[in-house]
């Protein structure tokens, strides 16, 4: 087997897996911080119960995100050493800054939040969860700026003598619009993920009429913030689609299944791809719609895959510059579809709140826990689209994936680690889901009764 393909599979597997946990950490951290702040300000024990209940789920998820994140920092060097040599001068900086600014902050203050309850002044304990939330968002910012460089390299020159790209403008790197757009999109998705998570679990409890105060309040906060967050994701995505037309036209054409350039451009309602994933079998298109999506008018043109391929061959030499279109096409549609359903879910949530929990609509809550899957689907397909749409480039226009792998690795070595990661990750997922479902079903009213005699602790006291 080809070491490049294996390394790509490993990167995809470990990264998609890591990103199962990241968005919930990003969003839920802020939710818990808000809940604890409400408790701090009002003294209402409902907020205290909310903080404890969601805080515990946050912690379980956080641990998974942290440990799978270590792999991310190592594998650029492990599997992609030529990439690391070529752009390390640029790409290493945001990674190092992420560790220094964000990792230290979130880990240290999480320890303080977790163990410091009762040992510290209340406001210090409260501040520590805010610092955890800020830390994880900072971490997202710097890693997304690093990814932004891979999509749209800025602030560098090619040093031919050293045979690599070198940073000449740090400010350009950290204000790269591509990275900042990713940050907007990702943070909003984090809030949306946490919102659907809270809505789903709250719905489960509300159906069983337990801890209604806690879960109605949680439901309210999540429905409102969730609706805004998903709208924000949509707006970010829309903006990204528009800049993609200019900066990564191949990604846009491939996700639309658009082989020939069109002006005005049509939107694919359904395209059937051949077995290569890059050829057309059948397609049904709606005229004008793509121009509207990409430019807010009905006239602009979109360059097709075939024209871009010719253009890139002239620019970069012979080769296949077309990404796996079928993957981008369906990833995009699953992401957008899941996002639209999420809008409906939060709208339904807002409707229930507005109508003061009408009995005849409450039975629909039973679908809410299933909807927790939607953000996970959208988050994963979104990243698959982002990364696969850039193929064959690892850094757009600068370095190809096939030229980036570590030359010393054999297929056997990568297969060994890939299988190892898959076994480990499946096992951990079983344990994680077991714990998440277990603590998601706990009735917060009963927990407090049970532990009244214990020293208060954010994790509750487990004997």
């Amino acid at each position: 087997m080809d070491p490049v393909i294996l390394s790509r599979w490993q990167f995809a597997t470990t990264t998609v897996y890591h990103f199962f946990f990241v968005p919930l950490t990003l969003g839920l951290g802020w939710f818990v911080a808000i809940m604890q702040t409400m408790y701090h300000r009002t003294g209402d024990e409902t907020y205290q119960k909310m903080t404890k209940f969601w805080g515990k789920l946050f912690l379980i998820n956080f641990a998974m995100g942290v440990v799978t994140g270590i792999v991310q920092e190592f594998q650029f060097g492990m599997n992609w050493s030529e990439y690391s040599r070529y752009v390390g001068d640029i790409f290493g900086a945001p990674l190092a800054i992420e560790a220094l600014l964000a990792f230290f902050m979130e880990s240290t203050f999480l320890g303080i939040w977790l163990f410091g309850d009762g040992k510290l002044p209340k406001w210090v304990h409260l501040a520590s969860i805010w610092l955890v939330a800020i830390g994880s968002s900072l971490s997202a910012l710097f890693i997304l700026l690093a990814n932004g460089f891979m999509q749209h390299p800025v602030g560098y020159i090619i040093n031919n003598e050293a045979g690599r790209a070198e940073l000449v403008d740090f400010f350009a790197l950290i204000t790269n619009f591509k990275g900042l757009l990713f940050f907007w999109h990702t943070i909003s998705s984090g809030f949306a993920t946490a919102a659907l998570f809270i809505l789903g679990i709250s719905a489960w409890h509300l159906l069983r009429k337990q801890s209604e105060k806690v879960f109605k309040q949680s439901f309210k906060i999540a429905a409102i913030i969730g609706f805004v967050a998903i709208a924000s994701v949509g707006l970010a995505g829309h903006t990204q689609g528009q800049e993609m037309r200019i900066y990564q036209p191949m990604k846009l054409a491939s996700l639309e299944g658009m082989w020939e350039s069109e002006q005005p451009a049509s939107f694919s309602l359904l395209t059937i791809f051949d077995s290569t994933g890059k050829g057309k079998v059948w397609s049904l298109r709606i005229p004008y719609v793509m121009s509207f999506l990409a430019c807010n008018n009905f006239t602009c043109g979109i360059t097709g895959v075939n024209e871009l391929q010719e253009q890139y061959q002239q620019q970069y030499g012979p080769g296949d510059y077309i990404p796996l279109m079928v993957l981008n096409y369906w990833s995009f549609r699953l992401m957008v579809g899941a996002g639209m359903l999420m809008v409906l879910v939060t709208l339904f949530g807002l409707f229930l709140i507005w109508k003061k929990w009408p009995e005849k609509w409450m039975k629909w809550l039973k679908w809410m826990p299933v909807m927790i899957g939607l953000p996970y689907l959208a988050n994963s397909t979104g990243w698959i689209l982002t990364e696969s749409g850039r193929q064959p480039w690892i850094v757009q226009g600068l370095l190809k994936v096939e030229d980036s792998v570590s030359p010393n690795l054999t297929a056997g070595m990568i297969l060994f680690s890939l299988i190892g990661f898959v076994i480990l990750y499946v096992a951990l997922m079983v344990a994680d889901v077991y714990l998440m479902t277990k603590f998601a079903r706990v009735n917060p009213d009963e927990v407090v009764k049970e532990t009244e005699n214990f020293v208060p602790s954010i994790t509750g006291s487990e004997k």
Partner: protein
């Protein structure tokens, strides 16, 4: 500043990150390795885990920051090291992953088999990374096959030589002692009495390994040839410091024993980095192929930017990490109602 100065500064900064990592994660690895043996029942094990509960994650970030700083300041070093030691690093990652999850998951279920499973994960997840880091570092200094393109040409077996294994086992031994010394400052009651009884024996093992490693370092690396005999003062200081730690353990001066054994431990990476300088990875294939601070480094611009970032944020990070240790300075009671994890 000249690029040479910047390269030296970043070499020193990365050395400091490793020093911090060895000192901090050293004791929590030690505590992890001791956990299944020292804790006789669940409450005791919880007390042991809670001594490092607030800190282990922050300690681990020193490793991540060392990795990130290496990537940013010396991309070729990062690339050759991480791709070269591929399988070892994969195993290290598996260790760190199961360990990190274990701390969080263990307390979330009452089932004794669940808890015992995660205890052994903490044990293995502390032992394996400590061993592998020791093996990897010893090989960095002794030299590994690296070709003219800075590509590692050995395999996992290449690392498992006498000096490498001695480096690995020594690190395990000194970390266990470091863990005991930490627990002696943190535990109370029966558990403390038992942990204290373990200290002298652990010290003997750690001392034997550390002295052997330091003697081997003098004999088997090119430190003396490159820098003259003066460079060997550091390994000597490490052994002396460990001797002093032994006498302090006898006197039950726990804080001082912890500090001096810790000093002995951090002098291990200090020795390594001194011997290596100005190289960052020694090539056993040809001295011309060694990675050095100059041929592995980033551009002067990147080093400058990173220096400014470090200047502002390293002191801040140090301040709040020190503060977090101060917050949790009290001894841990073996009382189930007062434990978090």
């Amino acid at each position: 500043m000249s690029v040479e100065t910047l390269q030296t500064i970043w070499f020193v900064l990365i050395a400091i990150l490793w020093v911090g990592y060895f000192f901090l994660e050293g004791f929590d690895f030690g505590v992890g390795m001791l956990l299944p043996f020292l804790g006789k029942n669940d409450t005791e094990r919880r007390a042991i885990i809670n001594t490092i509960g607030p800190h282990w994650d922050g300690n681990e970030v020193w490793l991540l920051t060392a990795g990130g700083a290496t990537f940013a300041a010396f991309p070729n070093w990062y690339a050759t090291l991480f791709s070269g030691f591929y399988i070892a690093l994969f195993l290290l990652l598996v260790g760190l992953i199961v360990r990190g999850v274990a701390f969080e998951f263990r307390s979330k279920d009452q089932n004794p088999r669940w808890r015992s499973f995660w205890d052994w994960c903490i044990f293995a997840g502390s032992l394996v990374p400590a061993l592998l880091l020791g093996v990897a570092f010893a090989n960095l200094v002794k030299g590994v096959p690296i070709d003219a393109r800075m590509v590692y040409t050995g395999n996992l077996g290449t690392l498992l030589n006498f000096y490498g294994l001695l480096g690995g086992l020594s690190l395990v031994a000194v970390f266990i002692l470091h863990g005991i010394n930490f627990l002696n400052m943190k535990l109370s009651g029966d558990l403390l009495a038992r942990s204290r009884r373990l200290a002298p024996m652990t010290w003997v093992v750690a001392f034997v390994f550390l002295s052997s490693l330091m003697i081997a370092t003098v004999l088997m690396t090119d430190g003396v040839a490159n820098h003259g005999p003066i460079v060997m003062i550091v390994p000597l200081l490490s052994v002396v410091s460990m001797l002093l730690a032994g006498s302090l353990i006898q006197k039950k001066r726990e804080g001082w024993a912890f500090s001096l054994a810790g000093l002995a431990i951090i002098l291990i990476p200090v020795s390594y980095f001194l011997i290596m300088f100005p190289r960052v990875m020694v090539s056993s294939t040809s001295p011309n192929f060694s990675l050095t601070v100059s041929n592995a480094s980033s551009s002067a611009y990147t080093l400058n930017v990173m220096s400014v970032v470090a200047l502002f944020f390293v002191p801040l990070v140090l301040a709040y990490q020190v503060w977090s240790y101060w917050v949790f300075r009290k001894r841990m009671e073996t009382n189930p109602d007062k434990l978090t994890y």
